[in-house]
């Protein structure tokens, strides 16, 4: 079994949030929770740091380094940086550059087809197995909160993201 997993990659679900990105691996739970920040060297476009390390650089970078959030309002603002970030997270989870995991990614509800497509393509370019699956955030939040979404009964979920408001 490990050999198959090694080649195909482990199934992962990614909550690509404006503030934090969370990665869930099938059978293990949430394995990664890091700020959605990438620092790149603009001279050659390489990623210097991703996640926690990159967040510390925000507002403190010299001219040739740019640390920013590739997502704005839940949608991709910088495609290349987003792809770099996803690639970094996939590699971190698998400790291998060849993994092709099956991937589910969250998008906010009510985004346009173009924005959804961008998320899907960023995931596929970053190494997710095609097709990358998309789930709407309110739906994911409802399932994650233990609501019975498949039943013929109304459930209302209000999901306010974009940075946590209080430390737990």
């Amino acid at each position: 079994m490990p050999s198959i997993l090694g080649v195909m990659g482990r199934d992962m679900a990614v909550d690509l949030g404006t503030a934090n990105t969370l990665v869930y691996v099938r059978g293990e739970g949430i394995v990664l929770n890091e700020p959605s920040v990438v620092a790149i060297d603009i001279r050659d476009g390489s990623a210097l740091a991703v996640g926690t390390d990159a967040k510390r650089m925000i507002g403190r970078t010299p001219d040739h380094i740019r640390a920013s959030r590739p997502l704005r309002d839940g949608v991709i603002a910088d495609f290349d940086m987003c792809e770099q970030m996803l690639r970094h997270f996939i590699e971190k989870v698998h400790q291998s550059r060849l993994a092709k995991p099956r991937m589910v990614i969250c998008v906010p509800s009510g985004i346009t087809g173009v924005e959804q497509r961008a998320v899907q393509e960023a995931a596929e370019f970053a190494g997710a197995r095609k097709p990358a699956y998309i789930i709407e955030e309110p739906m994911a939040a409802a399932i994650g909160s233990g609501m019975r979404v498949q039943e013929p009964s109304g459930n209302m979920i209000v999901d306010i993201g974009g940075g946590q408001l209080k430390w737990q």
Binding site: D15, S109, G144, S145, V158, D159, L165, Q168
Partner: protein
């Protein structure tokens, strides 16, 4: 925010207001009131320390920023009621969106929600007084998701664990 039934979204409304928007409005407010420029990181810390949606006990915090007149660093003291004033606008945008969603929800489902309550998730659920504020504005019971910050990741993870039964809620490229 969305109303969900039978594995599908019945009514939804998305406002592009989140924690970031609150950070920005704190920066704007401090600039206007104190003539001090704050960094986004500092305003996020301020939000975490002081922000509330409902009247709570008064807290104070010291923040450091750059005085816009002298151009030198400066320390100011601000209070939770000031921060509440600062975030009032984005907060009311969220509440309006909840009301608008309820407005377009079919009556049968609205009755179900009245019984079960509105579930709050995401970092915003942790804002002090947010459930009270929403319950007051909508007249509906409000509860907080067991793990508000992880709800989305756990839910999408669950869709992987039981991929076959929950496949209906996912989209893939062939469907778009």
């Amino acid at each position: 925010m969305a109303v969900i039934s039978l594995g599908g979204v019945v009514a939804n409304k998305s406002v592009r207001v989140g924690g970031d928007e609150l950070d920005n409005s704190i920066v704007q407010f401090i600039k206007k009131e104190y003539n001090v420029a704050l960094g986004l990181r500092t305003s996020e810390e301020l939000k975490i320390k002081l922000a509330s949606a409902w009247v709570t006990e008064e807290l104070y915090a010291e923040v450091r920023g750059r005085d816009l007149i002298t151009g030198l660093p400066k320390t100011i003291v601000t209070s939770s009621s000031e921060i509440r004033e600062a975030i009032a606008e984005p907060l009311s945008a969220i509440i309006d969106a909840v009301k608008m969603t309820l407005d377009v929800t079919p009556p049968e489902l609205a009755a179900d929600i009245m019984e079960k309550g509105i579930m709050l998730a995401g970092g915003g659920a942790l804002l002090n007084g947010m459930p009270e504020c929403l319950a007051h504005e909508t007249g509906m019971p409000v509860c907080i998701s067991p793990e508000p910050l992880h709800a989305v990741a756990l839910g999408s993870g669950k869709s992987l664990e039981s991929f076959d039964s929950l496949k209906g809620v996912l989209f893939s490229s062939n469907q778009v």
